[in-house]
Amino acid sequence: MRPVPSRPRSATARRALTAATACAALAALTACGPAAGRAESTDALLSVTDQLDAAGSAVATARLAVEARADGHLPAVTADAAISDAVETASGAVHAIGTLVVPDSATDQVRRAALDASEIAVGPVASARTWLGTSAADAAAPPDLLDALDDASTAVERAHAAVQQAASERAAR
């Protein structure tokens, strides 16, 4: 062992340090970009559209599961799991829209219309589960169930468009 001489500064290391700091700062900046705030009522409406998306997705899931089951492509137990998840999602959407606090009465009107549509969606999804429980294997899907699912899907889509329009009007103002 010998006593140490002091080591000269390394220019490479200094440059590397600067580069690393710049990278970290850039990452932090780009990450924080989308955090910009939204107006309160627009925010509420966006949350309503999210819930309507969930309701629409639940209806579509139920429809796919019913079709697959009717074609004999999906085991009954698996179809049941899929549709019961869809029931949970759809009723969760109703609950979320129903309990949402909105800032003004105009927004509340939009919310109520969306609530009606999401309530319409729950019915056919739940009856899909009932059909699954009572039907024999490979029984064709009853046309009225499929129709009800389609109607629910249309209702949700309409409400979605209405809410989106209201939101963009709000944003424009």
Binding site: M1, R2, P3, V4, R7, T12, A13, R14, A16
Partner: protein, 120 residues
């Protein structure tokens, strides 16, 4: 005394001037056998002048890769040295009136700084 009394302690010269922090302890296994290993003996303290963060073991060898981690760490820890344990004058107790606050290690006047690299 246990190892964590020394790790991270500030290192002072006899006249009170700070020279760095204890970043690692160097032990040698040359005592009587205790179970399957020789009893370890404290050989010295690895002192880094600028930072109390870990040197990730780079002080032991002259490994320069991977770039840029090794050069960065070497820069943060430049001037790291080893002091032999006999060169430590005292390690004041936490309630010592002369050294209130965080743990310190006081070196003997005329102590020697050794290269912290392990040579075979």
């Amino acid at each position: 005394m246990i190892a964590s009394d020394l790790l991270d302690a500030r290192v002072l010269e006899a006249d009170g001037q700070a020279v760095g922090w204890v970043v690692d302890l160097r032990l040698v296994l040359d005592g009587t056998t205790d179970g399957i290993l020789a009893r370890p003996r404290l050989h010295g303290l690895v002192v880094s002048p600028r930072t109390r963060t870990s040197f990730l073991g780079f002080e032991r060898s002259d490994v320069r890769s991977p770039w840029p981690i090794a050069p960065l760490l070497r820069r943060w820890h430049r001037g790291t040295f080893l002091v032999h344990w006999p060169d430590v004058a005292r390690v004041p107790e936490p309630d010592d009136a002369d050294h209130p606050g965080p743990a310190v290690v006081v070196l003997r006047p005329g102590y020697l700084r050794y290269d912290a690299t392990l040579h075979r």
